[in-house]
């Protein structure tokens, strides 16, 4: 839970003129010592959209999210949330963001009802009836101290605290990590209910790619601090394909076709994952004596693994 400065008590959210994009990140780079964590990243989240952020650990997802929260100041480029700079205008921005991360930072000594009263005081748009309904749905014991809650219950408490003031932007950083399927369903359900409410927006990062596929309108993959793609699932699927080839002559190493991320096979049968459309691959194969025998679309999980293999061929277990 990121509690905005107490001054938010005086600053009820003004009706923000609806810019087309809720989050606008333009040309942001970020260095931590010698490491370039974000490399000239640009990403926009339109209002009313669920954008799923995926990428390996260390790719830059959390760093990006911290920029949106105003916890990091952009070293180059600009960050605008609801049209405002979250570093310069944290109160206005944070009062409209509901944030949940892995292991939410909740005040352990407080009882659940005390924690909710505390959060309610910080957000003028807090809806007590909705909060109570969520508390019952999540079966959170209001008398229990937060530190005595199980991991799953803590996640639910964090989720409640982030939802009850109906923020215009729900920002989730790997909220489901290490949680059982029931809690994960609660989180997914929250994302869907948020988006079903007109005009609200969700930006979430996750390793659970099947879940990302189910709920996202758009998916952005971050790799080494760069955006590999940001597109609808259909659009992403069109950029990749898996093709099995029957070669004219057997080979001990993969055929030299452009656009391949990874290969498996031997002899005359080789299967490649390509960062190209099927048409492009067919066109390249047509220039050889080899043949395409089978083709498959890829799901997000397979695209992710293919990229990982491409960068760490020795490490990734075949």
């Amino acid at each position: 839970m990121v509690a905005p400065h107490a001054a938010v008590l005086d600053a009820a959210p003004e009706p923000v003129e609806r810019t087309r994009h809720v989050v606008e990140i333009r040309g942001v780079s970020r260095r931590f010592g010698g490491k370039l964590a974000l490399d000239n990243i640009s990403l926009c989240v339109p209002a009313g959209v669920v954008l799923g952020l995926v990428g390996e650990n260390g790719a830059g997802k959390t760093t990006l999210i911290r920029h949106v929260l105003g916890l990091l100041k952009a070293q180059t480029g600009s960050v605008r949330v609801f049209g405002h700079d979250p570093v310069l205008d944290p109160v206005r921005v944070l009062s409209q963001i509901g944030y949940l991360c892995e292991e939410p930072d909740l005040p352990g000594w407080m009882r659940v009802h005390e924690m909710l009263r505390y959060v309610a005081a910080l957000y003028p748009t807090w809806d007590p009836a909705y909060a109570e309904q969520l508390r019952r749905d999540f079966a959170l014991d209001s008398q229990m101290k937060v530190k005595h809650l199980s991991k799953g219950q803590r996640a639910r408490a964090g989720l409640l605290a982030a939802l009850a003031y109906r923020p215009d932007l729900l920002l989730l950083d790997e909220p489901s990590s290490g949680l059982d399927p029931i809690v994960r369903r609660d989180i997914l359900g929250a994302i869907i209910r948020t988006i079903a409410d007109q005009g609200r927006t969700v930006l979430f990062s996750s390793h659970l790619l099947s879940e990302v596929e189910r709920v996202s309108d758009r998916i952005a993959m971050i790799k080494s601090g760069r955006v590999l793609f940001c597109d609808t699932l259909d659009g992403i699927r069109d950029r990749y394909c898996r093709v099995t080839l029957r070669l004219d002559e057997p080979r001990a190493s993969p055929p030299p076709l452009p656009g391949a991320l990874s290969w498996e096979g031997s002899g005359r049968e080789w299967t490649g994952v390509f960062q190209s459309s099927l048409e492009e691959v067919r066109a390249e194969v047509a220039l050889t004596n080899d043949q395409v025998v089978e083709e498959f679309p890829l799901n997000l999980d397979e695209i992710f693994v293919a990229h990982a293999r491409a960068s760490h061929p020795a490490e990734v277990n075949r």
Binding site: V50, G189, I192, R193, S210, R214, V215, D217, P297
Partner: protein, 137 residues
């Protein structure tokens, strides 16, 4: 309305919904005039983006399987049950294509395949008679 979504079969979710609703209509489990769940309700039940459900409903509407009514809500259309037979044949055609592909791979010729189909049909009609073994050399 019970739908089962698979994440890993390569078929987009909206299309899975479209196909399953068509199947429910074709098999009679959804009848003319039956109402489909509201988009939001189905999205929450299946834990998918409401836009995906909306897309599936739009597709079903375009194909005439369902229709929207003035009183809000989406209903199985009369045309839906007429489409049922066409849909049933389409589903069977897919199964037949798969069967033909496999029998070719196994080097079973068409006459043998048709004979096998007849025998299985006979076996199903009279369950008291044990189905003859079809082991071939």
């Amino acid at each position: 309305m019970q739908l089962h979504l698979s994440n890993s079969n390569g078929v987009p979710i909206y299309l899975q919904i479209v196909n399953q609703v068509k199947y429910l209509v074709a098999s009679g489990r959804l009848g003319e005039g039956d109402e489909l769940p509201p988009i939001r309700v189905l999205a929450e039940k299946l834990l998918i983006n409401p836009n995906t459900v909306a897309r599936a409903y739009r597709e079903l509407e375009l194909e005439g399987v369902v229709e929207k009514r003035r009183t809000a809500g989406t209903y199985v259309s009369g045309a839906g049950s007429r489409l049922a037979k066409r849909e049933r044949l389409r589903i069977l055609t897919e199964r037949i294509d798969a069967l033909l592909a496999e029998s070719r791979q196994m080097d079973i010729d068409l006459d043998d395949l048709v004979e096998l189909v007849r025998r299985r049909d006979a076996a199903m009609r009279s369950p008291a008679v044990p189905a003859p073994s079809t082991r071939k050399g």
